[in-house]
C-alpha cells in the first residue's frame, strides 16, 4: 500500500493541533516497515489514518491507497465499504494487549465475535480457523480458547491479539507498540513470532514503536517521525550506520548501551519547534533557515531519504570521515 502527503490535524477547544505533517511511504509486499518516534510524534495517528479510523473531528488530507486486486482509495471509502476493508485487508494489533481484550469474554468468544462481525458464521469453520491460528502463534488452542484474558500472561495475550489480527488473512497488519510493557524475554519472543508470521502468512507489516532495538531486530525499512514530521526513511542498516538526520543520530546516541560513554551530563532537551524543522532547537547543525524550512523528504542517497536541509552537509562529513 502507499501513503502520500498525509496531513492530520485535530480540532480541539484550544485550537487546531497538527498531528501528522506530510507523511509519505510505500509498504511493499512481505515487508516490515518500522515507524519510529516518541510519544506525540504522530505514529499512531498515521496508523489510524491507514485504517480510516480517525474520529470525526480530525481533518485528514492526502492519499492512502491499498493495492489488492484493484487499487482502493481508502480515505474516500464509505462506511459500508470500510467494513470489507478493515480487518479483511488491513488489521491492527492495538497498543496495550493487556487491555485490548474484553475481560468478561473468553478467547473463544473473541474469535466468534470477530468472525461473525465479518460474515463468517459457520461454527465449525470458526473453530477450525481459531485452532489453526492459535497454533501458528505457538499457543495451545484448546486451553487458550477456554480462558478469560485475566488467565493469560501479557505475552500470551499479545499472541492472541496477533492470531485475531490474522483471522481474515489480511495482507497488511499494523502492530502498535507490540512489545511495550512486556518483559525482555517475552519481548524478544514476540518479535520472533512477528517475523515468523510475516514469513508464514506473507503479510506486510507496519511496526510502530519508540524502541530502537525493536526496529533493529525486525524492520526491513524505517521511517523516523518527530512531532508529526517525517525526518528520515531508509533501509534499517543504513539508517543505523549512516543516519542522515541529526534527530535520528540523537535517537541512536540516546540508547543506553553497554560500554557507552556519557557525553552530555544530564542535558535537557528544549521543546520541539512548531515551525520548520521540529528538531532545530536541539540540533547541533541548526541555522536560522531551519526554522523556516519546509520539511520534505529528499532522496539524499539511493533509497535513503532525509528531510534535513543540511543533509548534504552530513553526507560530506560522513564521507570525509571514512
Amino acid at each position: 500500500m502507499s501513503v502520500r502527503d498525509l496531513y492530520v490535524s485535530f480540532v480541539t477547544e484550544f485550537g487546531v493541533v497538527d498531528a501528522v505533517k506530510g507523511v509519505s511511504f510505500d509498504l511493499h509486499r512481505k515487508e516490515i516497515l518500522g515507524l519510529i518516534g516518541e510519544s506525540g510524534s504522530g505514529k499512531t495517528t498515521t496508523a489510524l489514518a491507514v485504517l480510516s479510523l480517525l474520529p470525526p473531528y480530525a481533518r485528514v488530507k492526502g492519499q492512502v491507497r491499498f493495492f489488492g486486486n484493484e487499487p482502493i482509495d481508502v480515505l474516500s471509502l464509505s462506511e459500508s465499504q470500510l467494513y470489507s476493508y478493515r480487518w479483511a485487508k488491513v488489521s491492527i494489533v492495538f497498543q496495550g494487549a493487556m487491555n485490548a481484550l474484553n475481560p468478561v469474554l473468553t478467547i473463544r468468544d473473541h474469535f466468534v465475535e470477530t468472525a461473525k462481525a465479518h460474515g463468517i458464521s459457520d461454527p465449525k469453520k470458526i473453530k477450525e480457523l481459531s485452532y489453526e491460528l492459535l497454533k501458528s502463534v505457538e499457543l495451545e488452542p484448546a486451553r487458550v480458547l477456554r480462558s478469560f484474558p485475566f488467565e493469560l500472561s501479557g505475552g500470551m495475550k499479545q499472541r492472541v491479539m496477533i492470531a485475531l489480527a490474522l483471522l481474515l488473512r489480511p495482507s497488511v497488519i499494523i502492530l502498535d507498540e507490540p512489545t511495550t510493557a512486556l518483559d525482555t524475554l517475552t519481548q524478544r519472543s514476540i518479535l520472533e513470532l512477528i517475523k515468523n508470521v510475516r514469513d508464514q502468512f506473507e503479510t506486510s507489516m507496519l511496526l510502530i514503536t519508540h524502541d530502537l532495538s525493536v526496529i533493529a531486530d525486525s524492520a526491513d525499512r524505517v521511517l523516523v517521525l518527530y512531532n508529526g514530521v517525517p525526518m528520515e526513511m531508509a533501509e534499517v542498516k543504513s539508517l543505523y550506520y549512516r543516519p542522515l538526520n541529526p534527530y535520528t543520530r540523537m535517537l541512536i546516541d540516546s540508547f543506553p548501551m553497554i560500554g557507552k560513554i556519557l557525553k552530555e551530563k544530564g542535558k535537557m532537551l528544549k521543546p520541539a519547534s512548531l515551525h520548520g524543522c521540529p528538531f532545530a532547537p536541539n540540533c547541533p547543525l541548526a541555522t536560522a533557515d531551519c526554522y523556516g524550512a519546509t520539511m520534505v523528504m529528499k532522496e539524499v542517497e539511493k533509497d535513503h531519504f532525509s528531510s534535513c536541509i543540511h543533509a548534504d552537509q552530513i553526507v560530506q562529513e560522513e564521507n570525509s570521515d571514512e
Binding site: 516518541e38 524475554l185 535517537l251
Partner: protein
C-alpha cells in the same frame, strides 16, 4: 554477626523475606513470598542494580529496603543497625537518609501541589532546615536536577511539566533530604527515548557528587550494567529469590545462572547487524511463571532448559563461584531438600507482620 559492620557498608539485608497472603478462589488462600530470603549489601557511593521480570518481587524488595514494608522474616541493617529495632527518632533519621524514586512520574507527584511544596513538604516533615533556608534548599535541589530557572519551575504544577521534567522533580524530591541511599524503581521506563539518557545521567552525576548509594531496579540487564558500571553490583532476582549476585562486569561477561544467560541473550540491541546475529536462548516457557505457582525445588526448574532430576526436588542455595554468587545445581551447590509431604513450605518462614 548482625552488629558487624564491614568497612564502607551502608545497608545490608539478611535473609530478607516478605510474605503476602493472596486469595485463590473464594475460600482458598495461598501464601506468597514476594521476597524470599534475599541477602545483599550496599557500600557507600556504589550502585546495586536489581534485575527481575514483572512479578519477581523487585519493587517489594526496594520498598522493604528503605523501611516502607516490614519484612516477615530476616532484617535490614542500616550501618549495622536493624531498622525495625530502632527507636522512633532513629527510624525517622533512617527514613530521611533512604529515599525512593518511583516508576511513574505521572502518578507519583501530587497534582494539587506546586513543585515548591512537593519539595518543601519533606523538608518540613523532617525539620531539615529553618523556614528561612527552605527556599534556598528547594531551589538548589531543582537546579541540581537541571531545572532552570528554579524559581519558575517551583511555581508550576505537575500537569504543566513534561514526563522528563516530572521525573526530575521526583528525583529532586528524593535528593532534597540529602539522602545516603536512593532506591530508583524503573525510573525511566515511562519516559521517551530522547529523555531517558538525560534523566539517567542526572542521577549518575548526582550520585557521584553526593556519594550516594543507589539501588536501581530494572527488568533490563543492559540498563543494569549501564547504571552499575564497572564498580557496581548486579543482583538477579527470580520469583523473589536471588539467583545470581556479583560485580556487574562479571555478571555480564560471564553469567552463570541459566536465567541470567537467557536475559543476556534477549538484551535489547540498537545495532541491526548485531541484533539479527544474536540468538535468543530458548527457555521451555518464555512467559514468566505465575509467582503463586512457583514449582517446588528450584523455582526456575519449569522453564530451565538444563533442569535435571535434582532441580525438581531440592532448592539450590546461593553459593560462591569465583567472584560471584549463584543459586544453581549446575555448579553443584548443596541445597535444601523439599520434603514430599509439604512441597511448598520450607524453612518455617513466619507469616505476615
Amino acid at each position: 554477626m548482625s552488629d558487624f559492620i564491614r568497612s564502607s557498608e551502608i545497608l545490608r539485608t539478611e535473609n530478607l523475606t516478605v510474605s503476602f497472603t493472596v486469595k485463590k478462589g473464594i475460600l482458598k488462600k495461598a501464601q506468597l513470598n514476594a521476597v524470599d530470603g534475599v541477602s545483599v549489601s550496599i557500600e557507600g557511593g556504589t550502585t546495586l542494580a536489581v534485575v527481575g521480570e514483572s512479578g519477581s518481587g523487585k519493587t517489594t524488595f526496594g520498598k522493604t529496603l528503605i523501611g516502607l514494608i516490614k519484612p516477615s522474616a530476616g532484617a535490614v541493617y542500616y550501618r549495622g543497625q536493624n531498622i525495625w529495632k530502632m527507636d522512633r527518632k532513629q527510624f525517622m533519621q533512617f527514613r530521611m537518609k533512604a529515599q525512593m524514586i518511583y516508576q511513574d512520574p505521572y502518578s507519583s507527584l501530587n497534582p494539587r501541589k506546586k513543585v515548591y511544596d512537593i519539595l518543601a513538604i519533606p523538608i518540613r516533615v523532617h525539620k531539615l532546615v529553618d523556614l528561612e533556608q527552605e527556599q534556598a534548599a528547594v531551589y538548589s535541589a531543582l537546579e541540581d536536577v537541571g531545572l532552570f530557572p528554579a524559581a519558575a519551575f517551583a511555581e508550576k504544577y505537575p500537569f504543566e511539566l513534561s514526563g522528563g521534567q516530572r521525573q526530575r522533580v521526583a528525583i529532586a524530591r528524593a535528593m532534597v533530604l540529602r539522602p545516603e541511599i536512593v532506591v530508583a524503581d524503573e525510573p525511566i521506563t515511562m519516559l521517551d527515548a530522547s529523555l531517558r539518557l538525560g534523566v539517567l545521567d542526572t542521577m549518575l552525576s548526582l550520585q557521584k557528587r553526593m556519594n550516594l548509594s543507589l539501588l536501581f531496579i530494572t527488568h533490563d540487564l543492559g540498563m543494569a550494567y549501564y547504571i552499575a558500571g564497572t564498580t557496581g553490583k548486579i543482583a538477579v532476582i527470580y520469583l523473589g529469590s536471588l539467583v545470581e549476585y556479583g560485580p556487574a562486569s562479571e555478571v555480564l561477561k560471564d553469567p552463570l545462572h541459566p536465567y541470567t544467560k537467557a536475559l543476556l541473550s534477549a538484551l535489547p540491541e540498537p545495532d541491526p547487524i548485531k541484533s539479527r546475529s544474536k540468538e535468543l536462548m530458548k527457555l521451555r516457557n518464555m512467559e514468566p511463571t505465575d509467582p503463586t505457582k512457583a514449582p517446588p525445588g528450584c523455582k526456575f526448574s519449569d522453564r530451565c532448559p538444563f533442569a535435571f532430576e535434582r532441580c525438581y526436588r531440592e532448592r539450590p542455595l546461593l553459593s560462591d563461584k569465583g567472584d560471584e554468587k549463584v543459586a544453581c545445581f549446575l555448579y553443584d551447590v548443596p541445597g535444601v531438600p523439599i520434603s514430599p509431604e509439604k512441597p511448598a513450605k520450607r524453612r518455617g518462614v513466619p507469616t505476615g507482620s
